[in-house]
Assembly symmetry: C2
Homo-oligomer: 145 residues x 2
Amino acid sequence: MHETAQILRDKKIRPTLTRLAVGEVFFKSFDHPSAEDMVSKLKKVSPCISRATVYNTLELFVKKGLASKRALKAGGVIYDPVVSPHHHFLDKESGKIYDIPWDLAKLPGKIDLPGFEVEDYYLVITGKKTRRTNGTQQKNGRNAQ
Amino acid sequence: MHETAQILRDKKIRPTLTRLAVGEVFFKSFDHPSAEDMVSKLKKVSPCISRATVYNTLELFVKKGLASKRALKAGGVIYDPVVSPHHHFLDKESGKIYDIPWDLAKLPGKIDLPGFEVEDYYLVITGKKTRRTNGTQQKNGRNAQ
DNA sequence: GTTCGTGCAAACGGTTTGCAACAAT
DNA sequence: ATTGTTGCAAACCGTTTGCACGAAC
């Protein structure tokens, strides 16, 4: 199955070889990679891929709704193939980020702030991870919610 | 009144001239300055202050509980003299950040995540600001909550 | 005299930009 | 022809580090 090509075509992104390679790796990256992480992963597969192209492609994915981009910790932004609403837990010891399903935090359905037009909101939760859970496994990137 | 000196002494920070200058400016900075913003502000007052010292001092303030440090948007961390719990609204057009009082969002008193030891949590709200409010005025940095 | 605080410049890491070549329309 | 895509290197910007000097303990 050429799922990645289909995902790109659905979003009117021309499925070039480079973009297929980026997509192929990114859409299964549930470890909240930075752009530089993605460059590393991709260099292993396709050694002469360009840093600039990876950055461009990730930004393109964000623009087209195939990725979300979050500033959660100092020193760089992370990209997430899960675009449905969810929260993030940041382990202060390891620096690892875990997805937290939206309804685990009992938030009000909408947030009304006089003077502000709210587009999006999410929790950033910090602390320490205690047990191994499946916290980061969430494969509903482009379908759910 | 030498309020700044007292704040520092209370936290066992030796109130050197440099730190007084940083504190004097920082403790009234309710505009969510980056470290580099603080360097600029301080260079106006005290032109030969060192970049490294400003960075060091801000980190010291964070460590001593006089500042909070947040990654809210790409391209750098911001420092906030308001250390009591509150949320942040990020205006996507202007890039400006506004403090949102804790109880404006009706959050549950605590968040229970099996497998995680929750230390801190807060909302990041994005959108557009519509009206001028006093959203960013909140002078209860070291006292409230 | 050992640690702490400061300034300066260089280094560093993540990201963006400029440019040249090529492919698709 | 014009636009879109890619790679490469250089530039850029926020932050950290190394070092030297002076002040405080």
